[in-house]
Subunit: 422 residues, 2 copies
């Protein structure tokens, strides 16, 4: 079953509001095995709304419209549905009474403009909105379904879950869609695609896609089948092939972030974690502490931004700094050892570097990461392209991944000295 | 001039990624006085992409396509443009050489698949992408413009600002658009709108809009005029009226972030800054160090996530913790004083709190901020709604704003004890 979505609202086109509803609907349609082929944003303009609804009806089996159901003059989704499907607008005295009771129960008198919410296209069904006053609308036209839903996320979600998705699934009689995301780190998107070129060639159901986000490459497998078991059976051999090919580059699946994986690994080993940061300025610690429950594992951090703080608070020797410079592997190692000592942690992640702009001594984007574990301490130098924020973000992600490898005993000696290390 | 946007990517329809680019483009088009009539999301499907491009060309003067320019097999925007406009794909040996040099400069060999990024539709111009390897594409078809742009936000933004918007504005032959953003903190969006209701009534050219982002409210004035001088003359009296009404709630204009303002204030006074963080886990330090040159002012941070780290590394007395609890104003004050001492800073910002999930002792979202200056140290308790990430982000922003007020000597005594303090 093919579904299209239309989001109504000039504020979405002006960029005042981010259209997050399309993702809200998209995940639910995917989970329900319904195919979401197009999503259109249109302003509060009668002619363009009518055109968008007519076009969606011409291509899809069901059309979900969000927004434009409020009480004000610019809320014209009801009118646009009537015009697009050539039908009259009716008025529900019953719903009008219900609206009056809703307002009375809150000790307020209802503005007359709200009576617009009791209007509906001939043939439509009004669906109760448990979280607001705008009822949703369900209309069947020539065997196709139209749903008009409020744009307020909390109202939309409850209506999707209670009415819309069950109704579409019943109508579709189709099976399920299963998505599996395999998360990797250490190779570029193009290198991952090359490594998996022959697997990609054989894909179809499941389909296969590569997604790059902040130095991590995700491989998404999406299967359509009659049942969850069959979908799983379609995905399994592809997942296995990807895992065999990618080896320890794979660090997690689906929603597992590197912070989650790292904290889980520390809990399994009974280790605590600390960080010592210069150029990343606390970003590694922020990422780790974004996970609820990280306080059981994470001790703390020392952000040593000025040089004497590295000496005083992390015990980095002046002679090490003088001999090698602040952005060097010996200094990063001394920072990691110093943080483990000062903060009483089993594992310490240290970052020193120059994130930009460039200085005379050091090209921007030279970042050194060191990891201290009960086994040993090792450092790695990265040269990263891009601006300050990108360099800092990629370094933070890199530091978390390097710590994962170190904690698993997969040190990176023997690898090339710069660039990606896996 | 009418513009349509098309976002390419199955991940947007599946809800794996929120389509924030439409807002990114929308604000820029609105500021430039260009009309954004439709925005369509389409998956990585050749036939549907071709249909979407053809339709947009039939309705608009310019079409901006984002995404699908990467090096992998599912990136087919280039092919879809060729098919939609009936033209051949060519290959730029010059750009291929440039790609090879980009990779070589990073000490890496370029995967062959990246050569796809040197392909372009006949008649198109390749636009340099200063932040990535995918060039943008500009193509003129029957007097209409097509731009294909990378979907990565940082790459998209720089290309929009450098090429796309100036090019569209030149083509549109319209006058100048001037935008001034006045940044405020301390009142809700609806309260700001109330305070400025009569100013808003008189607006038109310039238009006036309120934008809320992470606890800050921005007031955007946008004027259209024949020349920059005339536009400035239209904006000036409205900016003055807003500033008079809002007073010290205004902390900056246009691109001035609170971190920039704070660092400027510290430089003016010859003061250094440090932070002591528990629940924010280094986020305050990360924000401050995101500004190039912050190393001249920022000393460092101690993230004291576990209780004994607060005692050992920040010198918070056990008796203070026992008497008041870890999430308390006396502990925040002791952390700020301890950080100033341990890190040798004139100003120290401390955060302790519970960002969630809730515990038996403490409701989630109770956050305490303290600021130490050479004058004194004071604390403030906030109760914030929302999930862990929202609480942490709002607290970080709040801590930076409180530090600004404290450094200006505008302490917050006499203000209500919880909630917003200004």
């Amino acid at each position: 079953m093919i579904v299209e979505t239309i989001a109504v609202g000039t504020e979405l086109l002006l960029g005042h509001t981010i259209n997050s509803n399309v993702a809200r609907i998209g995940t639910r349609l995917a989970d329900a095995g319904l195919e979401h082929q197009y999503s259109t944003v249109v302003g509060d303009d009668h002619g363009r709304m009518v055109a968008a609804i007519r076009q969606a009806l011409s291509r899809a089996d069901a059309v979900l419209i969000t927004g434009g159901l409020g009480p004000t003059q610019d809320d014209i989704t009801r009118e646009a549905i009537c015009a697009a499907t050539d039908r009259e607008m009716l008025y529900s005295k019953e719903y009008a009474d219900r609206l009056r009771r809703w307002w009375a129960a809150r000790g307020r008198e209802m503005p007359d403009s709200n009576l617009r919410q009791a209007e509906y296209p001939d043939g439509a069904e009004l669906l109760d909105n448990p979280k607001g006053t705008a009822p949703a609308i369900r209309l069947e036209v020539d065997g196709k379904l139209i749903f008009a839903l409020p744009g307020v996320p909390a109202e939309l979600e409850v209506l999707l879950d209670q009415y819309v998705v069950p109704s579409l699934r019943e109508r579709s009689g189709e099976g399920v869609v299963l998505s599996r995301v395999i998360r990797t780190y250490g190779k570029s998107e193009s290198r991952v695609a090359e490594l998996l070129a022959d697997v990609f060639e054989q894909s179809g159901n499941p389909s296969m896609a590569f997604l790059a986000s902040a130095a991590e490459i995700k491989i998404r497998l999406t299967a359509h089948a009659a049942t969850a078991v069959e979908a799983e059976a379609l995905v399994a051999p592809f997942e296995l092939a990807v895992r065999e090919r990618m080896g320890s580059l794979v660090f997690g699946v689906d929603d597992e972030t590197i912070e989650h994986i790292l904290l889980g690994l520390a809990r399994d080993k009974g280790w605590t974690i600390a960080t010592a940061e210069s150029a990343t300025g606390g970003m590694v610690a922020s990422r780790i502490t974004s996970v609820p429950g990280s306080s059981k594992v994470f001790r703390g951090a020392i952000v040593a931004y000025q040089e004497d703080v590295k000496r005083t608070n992390l015990g980095v020797g002046s002679e090490v700094i003088e001999e090698h410079g602040v952005v060097s592997e010996p200094v990063a190692i001394a920072m990691a050892d110093g943080a483990a000592e000062a903060l009483g942690a089993d594992v310490a992640i240290a970052v020193t570097g120059s994130a930009g702009p460039e200085t005379l001594e050091q090209a921007a984007g030279t970042m050194v990461i060191a990891v201290h574990t009960p086994e040993k301490t090792m450092a790695r130098t990265l040269r990263l392209p891009g601006d300050r924020e990108r360099v800092r973000t990629y370094t933070t992600t890199g530091a978390l991944h390097l710590a994962r490898l170190a904690m698993m005993g997969e040190w990176w000696s023997g690898q090339p000295k710069s660039g990606r290390w896996v």
